[in-house]
């Protein structure tokens, strides 16, 4: 009964399989395969005969089996049909076999399940809703779990959600305090009988609503308490969870979009054409049938003597009816079955060209490009929109410390012998850090001057590096080999701290009260007096420390624009110098930070600190008061310099983006990253430029706001455009105006749209959708940040549906899978850790830059070739078949064939790629005496060719026909080049003229993009981490206890989680503990 009911809410009771069974929830087995052994044949055949061509030829085959009608032998149809169907079936079968295999592998993973008060190893597929599972570190989560308890204090546990949303940083989940008390006590866990009432299965990754009823009390559950299938447990030795959703109900599976059968526009065109041709065929058949009836009644009667027909046995109408079907069979070649096969073969060939391409081979990882789908090649030449992931696709997700400006001097530039700035090349010798045992081996710096300055003991340089080593939120750990490992919250900070470490200022460890660093070999412990955390408005962070000498210092780093306002007036000269440097850095697409410090005296600090404590204790306006105090102390700073960190783009991204946009392909970036980071990358890869007329940022919190913002942006855009229209631009665009009446096409100037995930969710609602789409399509660049995997797919769908455009999605992670699947063409970046994107993709290669070659070379050529092929194919079929139509008028419409269709079709079908040699050898064989001797009835062609080809007359006719067919084409092409030259004709003409004029000059080196834009404090930074550090909650027990006597905590230790949650409500509520940087 229950299975017919729509689930409104889910009720799960822990440790009670019988109770849960009556709801018939799905178990944890997953199926992605389509067939099993029994159902394969019927389902596959059914699917195949749904294709128009196959069904058509099945009908034809049936017709041919009727002897009265059949004018061709049946094997001319059945052989190619069977061939096509078996080939497809074999392909489907192998595909499904691999799906079965991967399903089995996943279903048979082991996990520890609490059954009958004992922990037992159980296969994943046997896990049921309501079971309690034990997870261990680095294990995949088997199902969507409610976290009950974990090894960490407060029931915390860390998960990596790379498979779900592509973010590689760790997220924290924490259990309810009531359940975290259960700990690892098996008997108590087995006795746990809480009932969870929650929402029905859905695909929202960041939302969960539910209530746990246990021991007469109710606890509300949210996303923080849930561990989703597909996550990996990290940094947590064990945890227990209760299964809420299993198998197909899990959010992971709900998010995996259905695999859709992708078809190209040529396919659709072909289908329509085939339908039209079929109609045409019917018309021909009717004309000929009528002709036959007339002929039979007028002339055919008299021929009965030769055929011994009895009078009245066949009326002329009936004969006409039979003739109709006969002609349908004879003329069937106008509707081409071999078209589908030939098209597939050609595409297969093109796929091989892609696989073979050395220019798309990534030699560093030995990864060639791969066409995983062979049916979409020509669509590559039709792409209008590209949806790209950022991390791992556009960028390498590696931050490197590139340059710095210390006290008005730039370090990190490489000068050659002539004192010219040069590009850093592999030949240049990097600074040798190997003497330092603690140095990070992957770090490279090419300017030896900095090293020299350090050795010279330049105090500013020392202070600069000391600041980098002190002012951050990095956590350090020593691994088993005794190497320092930094757990970084944002990769930028990691880059800075690592840089400091390589230059001899090594951050060793921290406690809530102290920071220990090694300064050029001597250990120094700084007392951490205050931690002025980062937030989005402050765009800076500071620490106040007491150094071993007892001086109190404030170290601050932050966005240059903000920090420069806080400087002491005496810094003016340095400021302008540093400012120039910053512009230079920003122009190269580097992420910049300004660095400053301030000396504080004890008395002033004590006063300030007391005020801070008061403010913290205050109940009213607490945040405002704290912010005011921060402002108060962060002033009169002394500028030290600036840093420039490179968010390393993949190779050749800028060139690729430029050439793709030259090809009028619009590139949208869909990323899970923060807005600042996304914008920064937009600038770095030339998608956003300073020349842009306007950059719209949409960040509304509800549907109304979002719509308002969108409309305003649109108005703004049209207004600007109107102003433009008065100018000279009109003349340039006039031609385009005449050609294209659509408003958005007439827009001049470049615009960009930046929208965050939260607004996007509202913008994707039905009535705002159109506003969004209209605006987005008018913009040259669109960047969506903080989007979920599903939203990515929704955006793609939106464009696909309403713009009728051909879309391409490119990404590298599991979070891009849905987008890759829903776009017309999905591309996976191979060679990364995860395989999901590649597995879901249609094409895969190792570098974003290969996209250029794939689209502009392979796609274009495929499309051209396919079009040419189609033209020739239809031409050939019509030419061949219409002969029979005309011959019908001479042979009394009796469905006699004028030419031997049998061998023609044979050749058409088997030797499609038909080399002339094979064609003729078959021809000669079939016309040979030998084969006639064996099958006199089946091959009566002997002598035809020999006789006709020896006649001079035939050759004269062939010659004349050739002349008559070729000359008009030559004339047409000649006149077309003269009268309506295409762009390529003009270019060719121009090239020719250039060649005549002078030898080609060598290409000038590309000039650097100059940009006044300075990247802001674009860290993937989140507020609240400072509190976590000062509270000490994330410090492991094995860390040495604080030695300092200052045993004060700034905040109530239990409240930090709530604080955290409160402050991050509008983002995906999790704090990140990003990648682990290895020493």
């Amino acid at each position: 009964m229950f299975c017919f009911m729509v689930e409104v809410e889910r009720i799960v009771k822990a440790n009670d399989r019988e109770y849960n069974e009556k709801f018939q929830y799905a178990d944890n087995r997953i199926h992605t395969s389509k067939y099993n052994i029994l159902t394969f044949l019927p389902i596959n055949l059914f699917e195949q005969f749904q294709r128009v061509a196959n069904a058509y030829f099945l009908c034809l085959l049936i017709l041919q089996l009727i002897p009265e009608i059949s004018s061709l032998t049946w094997f001319t149809t059945i052989v190619p049909l069977v061939l096509v169907i078996t080939m497809t079936a074999v392909k489907d079968a192998t595909d499904d076999y691999f799906r079965h295999k991967s399903d089995n592998q996943v279903n048979n993973r082991q996990s520890e399940v609490l059954i009958n008060s004992k922990l037992q190893n159980e296969k994943w597929m046997n896990v049921k809703v309501g079971d309690i599972i034990k997870l261990e570190n680095n294990q995949f989560v088997a199902a969507d779990l409610l976290l009950l308890s974990s090894s960490e204090p407060h029931g915390l546990c860390y998960v990596e959600t790379a498979e779900l949303d592509g973010e590689t940083n760790l997220k924290v989940r924490h259990a309810l305090s009531v359940t975290s008390e259960l700990g690892a006590d098996i008997s108590r866990l087995a006795g746990f009988d809480g009932i969870v009432v929650c929402e029905v299965p859905n695909n929202k990754l960041d939302k969960f609503m539910g209530i746990l009823s246990w021991k007469d009390s109710k606890h509300s559950l949210n996303n923080e308490k849930i561990i989703l299938r597909g996550c990996i447990l990290r940094n947590t030795s064990w945890c227990f969870g209760m299964v809420i959703f299993a198998g197909p109900d899990t959010k992971l599976m709900q998010n995996s979009g259905k695999t859709k059968f992708k078809r190209t526009s040529i396919d659709r065109l072909m289908n329509t054409l085939v339908l039209w041709i079929f109609g045409f065929l019917i018309c021909l058949g009717i004309i000929l049938a009528i002709g036959n009836s007339i002929w039979e009644s007028q002339t055919g009667d008299q021929f009965r003597t030769f055929l011994f027909w009895n009078e009245g046995e066949k009326s002329s109408v009936f004969s006409g009816f039979l003739t109709f079907w006969s002609y349908i069979i004879i003329l069937n070649t106008v509707v081409p079955i071999s078209l589908y096969v030939s098209v597939e073969v050609i595409r297969l060939g093109h796929s091989y060209f892609i696989n073979w391409d050395r220019k798309m081979y990534y030699s560093r990882k030995a990864i060639p490009a791969e066409a995983r789908t062979t049916t979409l090649n020509e669509e590559l030449g039709q792409i209008e929109y590209i949806f790209s992931d950022k991390t791992g696709t556009l960028t390498q997700n590696i931050m490197t410390f590139k340059r710095c400006s210390i006290n008005g001097r730039i370090y990190g530039e490489v000068h050659d012998d002539l004192d010219q700035k040069t590009e850093i090349t592999q030949e240049k010798e990097p600074v040798d850090f190997s003497v330092k045992s603690q140095a990070d081996r992957e770090f490279q710096f090419f300017d030896h001057n900095l090293m020299e300055s350090i050795k010279m003991g330049d105090p500013k340089v020392h202070e600069f590096l000391r600041l980098l080593a002190l002012c951050h939120t990095v956590m350090s750990e020593e691994n088993s080999a005794g190497e320092l490992i930094y757990q970084v919250q944002s990769p930028d900070e990691g880059a800075l701290v690592t840089a400091a470490r390589n230059f001899g200022f090594i951050f060793k460890s921290r406690t809530p009260e102290t920071i220990t660093i090694e300064e050029l070999g001597t250990l120094a412990t700084y007392q951490l007096l205050a931690f002025l955390d980062f937030n989005n408005t402050r765009k800076r962070m500071s620490v106040i420390v007491r150094n071993p000498e007892g001086q109190i210092k404030l170290y601050s780093k932050g966005a240059d624009t903000i920090l420069f306002e806080k400087l002491h007036p005496s810094n003016e000269v340095l400021l302008s110098l540093t400012s120039d440097h910053l512009s230079e850095f920003a122009g190269e697409g580097l992420r910049t930070l300004a660095i400053a410090y301030r000396d504080l005296d004890d008395k002033y600090f004590k006063e300030w600190h007391k005020m801070l404590e008061d403010a913290n204790a205050a109940t009213e306006e607490r945040d405002e008061r704290i912010a005011g105090l921060y402002e108060e102390i962060e002033r009169d700073l002394m500028l030290l310099g600036a840093t420039a960190v490179e968010d390393k783009l993949q190779e050749g991204v800028i060139e690729t983006v430029t050439s793709l946009s030259l090809a009028n392909i619009k590139i949208w970036v869909l990323t899970g990253d923060k807005q600042e980071t996304a914008i920064n990358i937009g600038y770095a890869c030339n998608m956003l430029t300073d020349d842009m007329n306007d950059v719209f940022v949409i960040a509304g919190n509800n549907a109304v706001e979002v719509r308002e913002e969108l409309r305003k942006a649109k108005q703004n855009l049209f207004g600007q455009n109107r102003n433009f229209s008065n100018g000279h631009v009109v003349c340039e665009k006039k031609q385009q105006l005449e050609l294209d009446s659509i408003v958005e096409e007439t827009l001049t100037g470049d615009y960009a749209l930046i929208i965050n995930g939260h607004s996007l969710a509202h913008a994707l609602e039905s009535d705002v959708k159109n506003d969004l789409l209209e605006l987005a399509c008018m913009c040259k660049t669109v960047i969506c940040c903080r989007v979920t995997p599903l939203q990515k797919a929704q955006v793609v769908e939106l464009v696909k549906k309403y713009r009728n455009a051909v879309t391409l999605a490119i990404g590298d992670g599991a979070n891009d899978v849905s987008m890759i699947k829903s776009a017309h063409i999905g591309i996976g970046i191979s060679g990364q850790e995860g395989l999901q994107a590649v597995l879901a993709s249609d094409y895969s290669f190792a570098q974003f830059r290969y996209l250029q070659r794939l689209l502009l070379v392979h796609g274009r050529w495929s499309y051209f070739r396919m079009c040419k092929f189609l033209c020739y194919f239809f031409y050939k079929n019509f030419a061949f078949t219409l002969v029979h139509f005309w011959f019908g008028f001479f042979c009394g419409f009796s469905a006699q064939i004028a030419l031997d269709t049998s061998y023609w079709t044979f050749i058409n079908h088997v030797f499609i790629w038909g080399s002339i040699a094979i064609y003729f050898s078959i021809l000669f064989t079939m016309h040979s005496n030998g084969i006639f001797g064996i099958f006199p009835n089946q091959f009566p062609f002997v002598g035809n060719a020999r006789h006709s080809l020896t006649q001079k007359c035939i050759w004269l006719v062939i010659l004349l026909t050739t002349v008559a067919s070729v000359m008009p084409v030559v004339a047409f092409r000649f006149l077309k080049v003269d009268l309506y030259p295409t762009l390529s004709d003009q270019i060719r003409r121009w090239q020719k003229a250039q060649k005549k004029a002078r030898p080609p000059s060598s290409r000038r080196p590309r000039t650097r993009r100059s940009s006044s834009r300075r990247s802001g404090y674009a860290f993937a930074h989140q507020e609240g981490y400072g509190e976590l550090i000062t509270s000490g909650k994330n410090m492991r027990a094995k860390n040495p206890p604080p030695t300092s006597g200052l045993e004060k905590t700034h905040y109530n230790s239990t409240s930090w989680i709530e604080n955290l949650c409160k402050k991050t409500t509008d983002t995906v509520s999790s704090f990140s503990q990003d990648k682990t940087v290895k020493l």
Partner: protein, 353 residues
């Protein structure tokens, strides 16, 4: 820079021009000089070819005499079912104004005879005709077996409807002296037909073979087609080798014509004695034994005498087609030249401004 050794790349991805899509191409660039040159040359060629073809076609001579109406009495006689096996001859005198030089060929020509009907064409047995199996008649409906269940040889509608008029050409030197013009009945067929597609049974004596006398078993007995007056082994009384399936007239008939109006080779002039240079001018007559009924399907038949040239018969079509094509090509080339020059001038003036 590349950590992987180079051989890996070369092993995986062949650096051949084909696989890298770097095969040399030649793109025709349609410069005015080339195109116009080609056009003029083609035009001249086509015109010359056309004139040659027309001249040579006109040099052939052809005489066609439609004898459907002239021999109408015979037709009428035979339409009466009771007289169908009565022999009827008619003589058609005609005057040859100029002599026909060289090889002269005699054809019969039928109008409105649909040898290309689907059912008609299918009704034959190549297995039987190649002399493999006399009983192979399964394709021959409706002429497979005679009433007494013996296979018809040759079976099928095509064979049954064979043209069986006898045409004899005589030269009337004067009113009393008539010379029969010697006609050859050999090499009328395609070589492959005579030596590959049609073979007699291996036996020496054809008549015995077809009558089934060698095999005493009754099933080897065969029957002649219902419309035939004579059995297959008795077609040419003068030349015993020209009998059975290898009879030239039979083979010629069995190669079905593509159109309802067709002519088939009946004989060629034996250039001996009086006729060593061809047919001299003078009075001739056709003596026709009228057997083949055409009035029943409103068809017509005629006899044709013709000479050939290197390019076939006297059809003007090919020559005209070449001439017209040549003329059109010239016209087109002039037009193109005009357009090109016009555009060029325009461009020049544009640049000079």
């Amino acid at each position: 820079m590349e950590e992987r050794p180079q051989h890996c790349l070369s092993r995986l991805l062949d650096n051949s021009a084909l696989k890298q899509q770097e095969l040399p191409i030649h793109r025709l660039y349609f410069t005015a000089r080339r195109v116009l040159f080609v056009f003029f040359a083609t035009g001249i060629f086509c015109l010359c070819m056309g004139i040659i073809l027309i001249l040579s076609a006109r040099s052939t001579q052809e005489i066609e005499i439609n004898y459907t109406r002239i021999c109408a009495n015979c037709a009428k006689l035979q339409e009466n079912a009771s007289n169908f096996d009565k022999e009827c001859t008619c003589s058609i005198p005609f005057y040859l104004s100029g002599k026909m030089m060289g090889n002269v060929y005699m054809y019969y020509k039928l109008y409105g005879f649909y040898q290309n009907l689907y059912l008609y064409i299918r009704s034959r047995s190549n297995r039987q005709l190649v002399g493999k199996d006399v009983k192979a008649v399964e394709d021959c409906a409706p002429f497979k077996m005679s009433d007494n269940k013996t296979p018809i040889v040759p079976c099928g509608a095509i064979a049954n409807s064979m043209f069986n008029d006898t045409i004899i050409l005589s030269h009337n030197i004067n009113s009393s002296v008539q010379i029969k013009v010697p006609m050859l009945k050999s090499r009328l067929t395609w070589w492959t037909d005579k030596y590959v597609k049609f073979q007699n049974l291996s036996s020496k004596n054809l008549a015995d073979e077809f009558r089934g006398k060698i095999h005493t078993v009754a099933q080897y007995t065969t029957t002649k087609p219902p419309n035939w007056p004579k059995p297959i082994y008795d077609l040419d009384k003068k030349d015993p080798r020209n009998n059975g399936f290898l009879n030239d007239d039979f083979i010629v008939w069995m190669r079905a014509a593509a159109f309802p109006t067709f002519k088939k080779l009946y004989g060629r002039l034996n250039r001996t004695h009086h006729f060593i240079e061809g047919l001299p001018a003078g009075n001739y007559s056709f003596n026709i034994t009228y057997n083949f009924p055409v009035t029943r399907f409103h068809g017509e038949k005629s006899v044709v005498l013709s000479t050939l040239t290197w390019c076939g018969g006297n059809s003007l079509f090919l020559g005209l087609a070449y001439t017209v094509t040549g003329a059109m090509t010239w016209l087109a080339s002039f037009a193109m030249m005009a357009i090109h020059i016009m555009l060029k001038n325009k461009k020049m003036s544009f640049f000079h401004q």
